[in-house]
């Protein structure tokens, strides 16, 4: 990665300006979430003490404060409540407009406001089904000893069920 005109940044990577969460175990204890994504699973943490299922996944249960948590699978298909299409102001890294989002009822677990991909403008409507879609994002060049290792990453959006 190079930054034209700023010679001192040549070849450097700025984690503080990264779009996506760090996914290596050195920088994120929620690494299993991303490992599960690679398997097509949408997961979160459930408290073994009180049974609360939280999202985002946690280190500590926000209901009973136990740290005895387990990973569980959540549905990967949900129902669209409503759709928005952003024509102006799409952040760098999210493609050309429109950037489509939908409020999705994930089978009663939560309503997620998520990015919709593989979808044309005007195509998605209330009541439609969408499913989890996992894609690769740019790897992180991470220093391991004297070496720089590229840590692969994935992330998720949802796409129409066709």
């Amino acid at each position: 990665m190079s930054t034209p005109g700023i010679s001192i940044l040549e070849g450097k990577y700025m984690a503080t300006m990264d779009l996506f969460p760090q996914q290596s175990k050195e920088f994120n204890q929620m690494t299993p979430f991303y490992e599960h994504l690679r398997e097509g699973r949408f997961t979160t943490t459930k408290c073994k003490g009180c049974g609360a299922e939280s999202f985002p996944p946690r280190v500590m249960c926000p209901e009973c404060f136990s740290v005895d948590l387990e990973w569980i699978d959540w549905p990967t298909v949900g129902t669209v409540i409503d759709v928005t299409e952003e024509m102006v102001g799409v952040p760098l890294g999210f493609g050309k407009p429109p950037l489509i989002h939908a409020l999705v009822d994930l089978q009663g677990k939560k309503t997620f406001f998520v990015r919709i991909i593989n979808c044309n403008a005007g195509e998605l409507k209330s009541g439609d089904q969408v499913r989890l879609s996992v894609f690769d994002v740019d790897p992180v060049p991470q220093e391991v000893g004297r070496e720089v290792v590229e840590i692969p990453r994935v992330f998720y959006a949802f796409e129409p069920v066709k």
Partner: protein, 391 residues
């Protein structure tokens, strides 16, 4: 002894797409604040709270408060720190200054807030906004300071309550008319209903005119304990009466309700109870019109009209001069712009002037005023109530 807290001075820099740096704007705001009250000696200020959200990102400057103190020509001895709650940073700092003075930890505290948001390459503005909501779980879906979120709120409010696009537009027409008379505001021209209705689409149903702009600028107020305030000004005293700040969720998936803002109702109830003032008694309000739909929902959830009737309420001009609750009389965010840390302070300045009786557009006999900010993914709400008396 119960210590009462007054606002004794306030001023702001010109807001807009400005030539200059963050520290330039803080000096302009301090100067305007000092000029507002020539009887005050700034050297008496014993505390400084600075509100700025993007200082590290767009000015690459942390440890901001001592820098502002140095430039503002003051030497705080009881507090000198920065407060950050994104769009509500300024009002949060006023709450903390109030608490410090009320508790006796300080006597005279300046609260200054502002931002330099425009960078030499404009893409960076939208990119930086990805720091504003839950980075790992919402920003990574492409949500920054998100028009899509408020477009979704507007769509749901329209669906549930029959709110119309014309209702949204009425908020802009009012606030831009007010900002056109405010020389410090970003927008110096009024807009017609026809212009607003045919504006460039940002995220349907929100057009360009439904969204507040990105803004450079700063603002400052000085709060003082009543005994000193009486000696510091010959203008009517304006008191901070009560405050509330609530958060019930952060990530979008945990938002309890998109069209009734639970945290706003909690923060409002706290502020009303502590002030011993009811919504019916408020004479003037500055509410967080980051998007037009926000002002409509705020009318409802602050108790100025019934739930679901916000659209008709603003359509009838009940939030305008001569209506039930004149709102954003200086132009609001839609007209003045929104340098995050500055906004709550700008609101406080306008309420101070309304209660003193020297506002540019004066609400007759205003006795009680309210300010409100929302911040993040509608994730926190901040309410302050000011009055010419305390109860």
């Amino acid at each position: 002894m119960d210590r009462k807290v007054c606002v004794v001075a306030g001023g702001m820099s010109k807001w807009g797409v400005r030539d200059g740096s963050q520290r330039d704007f803080f000096q302009e705001a301090a100067k305007a604040c000092y000029d507002d009250n020539p009887l005050m000696d700034p050297k008496d200020i014993d505390g400084l709270l600075v509100a700025s959200a993007y200082t590290e990102r767009t000015s690459y400057q942390t440890h901001l408060a001592p820098l502002v103190a140095e430039y503002a020509g003051i030497k705080p001895k009881n507090i000198c720190a920065r407060v950050e709650l994104l769009c509500a940073s300024g009002s949060s700092a006023i709450i903390l200054a109030y608490a410090m003075i009320k508790s006796g930890q300080a006597d005279i505290v300046m609260v200054a807030g502002g931002e330099k948001l425009y960078t030499p390459q404009k893409w960076e503005v939208f990119y930086s906004e990805l720091a504003s909501v839950d980075h790992d779980w919402d920003s990574s879906q492409g949500l920054g300071l998100p028009p899509p979120v408020f477009a979704m709120v507007a769509k749901q409010h329209m669906k549930q309550y029959g709110t119309k696009k014309e209702h949204l537009a009425a908020v802009t027409v009012k606030n831009r008319r007010n900002s056109a008379l405010n020389p410090k505001a970003q927008f110096q021209n009024a807009v017609t209903m026809e212009e607003v209705m045919s504006g460039r689409m940002i995220v349907p149903p929100l057009t360009l005119y439904d969204c507040c702009p990105i803004t450079d600028g700063a603002a400052a107020v000085v709060l003082a304990v009543e005994e000193k305030a009486k000696e510091m000004t010959n203008k009517p005293l304006v008191y901070v009466m009560g405050t509330g700040q609530a958060s019930v969720n952060n990530m979008s998936a945990n938002m309890p309700n998109w069209t009734t803002w639970e945290a706003l109702k909690i923060a409002g109830a706290q502020a009303y109870a502590k002030s011993k003032v009811s919504p019916d008694e408020i004479n003037v309000a500055m509410t967080h019109d980051c998007f037009t739909i926000s002002e409509i929902i705020e009318m409802e959830d602050l108790g100025f009209c019934k739930k679901g009737e916000g659209g008709v309420f603003v359509g009838d001009g009940q939030n305008d001069f001569g209506g039930k609750i004149p709102t954003n009389t200086d132009g609001g965010l839609l007209g003045c712009g929104h340098p995050f840390g500055g906004t709550g302070i700008r609101q406080g300045i306008e309420v101070m002037k309304q209660l003193r009786g020297d506002a540019i557009q004066q609400v007759p006999n205003a006795t009680f005023g309210l300010t409100h900010n929302l911040s993040g993914f509608i994730a926190a709400h901040t309410v302050l109530i000011y009055g010419k008396e305390v109860r």
